[in-house]
């Protein structure tokens, strides 16, 4: 994540339609990677880097001159569609490209061409990862920038389809079964969202967020539309108890795919839900409390499952369920006094979880590659100790638990502060409980890494530092460092923040 | 109603008769092949009469041409599918 100084940018960049470009570039690259499989790695990494540079330039531009709107086709809303970039969107753009770049580098190593010994399934993974990732990137970027509920629906479809493609990339029977459930769950979510969009249009004749946000009165039809859209997004975000598809889909995918699915895909729909909640609809306290309670349920249920399962990948997948629940507590707090602080905390938790969880899945992938399995019961008996991957896992766990000075700590602290300022002690209690539970389940693998007394025979450490361990390690370091270097992201988040009441000019 | 319209209505009713007969045959006949026989009557003559009646009612050259085209393709499609289905039924032993 490079934050370039706006004053050093060339004048052309300052006028380029960067919002359109960050959607179009990955699209064109996806087609190119599909057309030229032999050059797919280069195309994929190059395009991701380019999108990252464009996103960073856009973020820098935002810091210098405030939120931006591109009217596509030159048509103003409500007739046309606009891409709107505020700090939240820019932050997500930069994070997505950054994490995508590191996961992509890891993928270029794990899906490397092996020549004549390559099995057909391996060849497929190598050829199809890149177009799917680039489509995913385009869908995510389209989602972040969209300011139109129907357009959000189509972006969600791109996201959902490419995510299913990534989930079944390994071609294994378990992955295919999980992928089919994932596809159906995603489609059900999309349809509920679309139904909500229909209700909105029927009730207001508008689909753009600006017009919808200007409506002050929550009529029953609008409430119903909001409930439907949030229900659809809850399925896609895997909010308890609609998380049924997630553990299997995330734990059976190949490591880079799991990393992307968990770090970015579930966040896409969470982002939309948060944006609709804060920007568009007047928050309804009852509904917010309900979502908060579901979040609390997710924390308890996800943590308990994570403590029970035997597979390391499944543990990490259930931890996503719990963490999503933690972030969703914000829906109960935005209406209160500390609403803005809680919102900042939730956004920061989204970023922290994205970095930490992608690091964790990549690390688990490396561990499973070394050991040939990911069974927790057998971890402490293994003489082989893939040290660097285990360090990456532990660092990521630091951020997930929320120990200072990690990004997870900062996010959790802000969320906690928001709850405390609102005197919402119930939610404070839930967060403390969630933290304790996350310590409990994450200690299972880490204690396995550190126990040597059950090992029969000498302990073997991989002698040479493998470049493949650098990427999970890098992501884990990012998950910590974002807590130390929080000033720029937080000031970016303030650009166009929905909580800032515009000054009334007398 | 002009005499032309009366004529058109008469033709339309005749067409309808073929469709009703075709449907009844479809329901009453004992096996695939005789049902096929009922179907082709509706397809060919029934639709031809309906198209003719519609053409008389609209009395527009381009509409008439389009109606002829539609009828022609339906007949072609139904002849081909009738043949294909009958052959399939014969071969797979679904005839009776």
């Amino acid at each position: 994540m490079i934050w370039s100084d706006p004053s050093t940018m060339t004048p052309e960049i300052m006028t380029w339609d960067l919002p359109s470009l960050v959607v179009i570039l990955p699209l064109l690259a996806a087609v190119a990677a599909f057309l030229l499989p032999s050059a797919a790695v280069g195309i994929g990494l190059g395009a991701t880097a380019l999108v990252g540079a464009a996103s960073s330039a856009l973020a820098a531009r935002l810091l210098a001159s405030g939120p931006e709107i591109s009217h596509l086709g030159g048509w103003t809303v409500p007739l046309g569609i606009a891409l709107r970039v505020d700090g939240f969107a820019a932050l997500m753009l930069v994070t997505t490209a950054g994490i995508g770049m590191l996961v992509g580098l890891a993928a270029s190593r794990s899906f490397a061409a092996k020549g004549a010994t390559e099995a057909p399934a391996e060849e497929r993974q190598r050829l199809f990862f890149w177009p799917l990732w680039l489509l995913l990137l385009a869908g995510l970027n389209a989602l972040y920038l969209s300011s139109d509920v129907f357009n959000i629906y189509i972006s969600l479809e791109i996201l959902g389809l490419s995510a299913v493609g990534l989930a079944v990339l390994s071609g294994k029977a378990a992955a295919l079964r999980a992928g089919l459930t994932y596809l159906f769950a995603g489609l059900l979510g999309s349809l509920l969202f679309l139904l909500g969009v229909d209700y909105l249009y029927a009730a207001t004749g508008r689909v753009d967020l600006a017009s919808l946000g200007a409506i002050d009165e929550m009529t029953p039809a609008l409430s119903m539309a909001l409930v439907l859209m949030l229900a659809g997004l809850a399925i896609k975000t895997a909010l308890f108890p609609l998380h049924f598809w997630l553990p299997a889909a995330h734990s059976n995918a190949t490591a880079p795919a799991s990393a992307l699915l968990s770090a970015l895909v579930v966040k896409g729909s969470l982002y939309v839900a948060l944006r609709l909640w804060v920007d568009v609809f007047a928050p309804t306290a009852g509904l917010g409390t309900l979502i908060g309670l579901l979040g609390a349920g997710a924390i308890v249920w996800g943590s308990i499952q994570a403590m029970r399962v035997d597979r390391l990948k499944l543990l990490v997948a259930y931890s996503t369920v719990a963490q999503i629940g933690l972030i969703c507590l914000v829906f109960a707090l935005t209406d209160e006094i500390g609403g803005e602080t809680a919102w900042q905390g939730a956004v920061y938790l989204i970023l922290a979880h994205a970095a930490a969880k992608s690091a964790m899945f990549l690390a688990v992938g490396r561990i499973a590659e070394h050991l040939g399995h990911d069974s927790l019961e057998r971890l402490h008996r293994e003489p082989l100790r893939p040290g660097m991957a285990q360090v990456a896992f532990a660092l990521a766990a630091v951020s997930l638990i929320g120990l200072p000075p990690s990004a997870g700590f900062l996010g959790k602290w802000l969320l906690l502060e928001g709850a405390m300022r609102a005197d919402a002690w119930l939610w404070v209690g839930v967060m403390v409980l969630g933290t304790m539970l996350s310590v409990a389940y994450l200690m299972r693998p880490i204690s396995g890494f550190l126990r040597f007394d059950r090992v029969e025979g000498p302990v073997i450490m991989p002698s040479r530092l493998d470049a493949a361990d650098l990427w999970p390690l890098g992501l884990a370091v990012v998950a910590i460092a974002m807590g130390l270097l929080a000033a720029t992201p937080l000031s970016l988040l303030a650009v166009g923040s929905p909580f800032v009441v515009p000054e009334v000019v007398p | 109603m002009t005499p032309l319209e009366i004529l058109a209505i008469g033709i339309l009713f005749a067409g309808l008769g073929f469709f009703v007969a075709g449907t009844v045959g479809m329901l009453r006949f004992p096996d695939v092949f005789s049902r096929l026989h009922a179907l082709t009557k509706a397809d060919n003559l029934g639709l031809a009469l309906i198209a003719l009646g519609t053409a008389l009612l609209t009395a527009d050259t381009s509409v008439t041409l389009k109606l002829m085209l539609i009828w022609f393709f339906v007949v072609l499609a139904s002849a081909t599918s009738g043949h294909l289905i009958a052959r399939h039924a014969l071969r797979s032993g679904q005839g009776s």
């Binding site: - | 319209e5 339309l12 469709f19 509706a42 519609t54 139904s78 599918s81 294909l84 399939h88 071969r91």
Partner: protein, 89 residues
Amino acid sequence: MSEVLLLLMVVLLLTLLGGLVRVVRGPSEADRMLAAQLLGTTTVALLMLMSVAMAMPRLLDIALVFAILAAIAVVCFVATGEVRDHDAT
């Protein structure tokens, strides 16, 4: 005049429903396909009448598309069908 047309359309719609019985009853796959074929033709006839009754000549384009695609499903049905061994003569 339009009443007569409408009456025709209602009866034609009822024959569509009658054809449905054969789709449900079968018994063979060929029977069901055959019934679907008849229903397609009836729909084309209905669209012709509706184009007059609703004064929308553009409906004939829809009928044209139905007509031109009428055989696709049947062709697929036969082309992907099974061939028994004793037919391979």
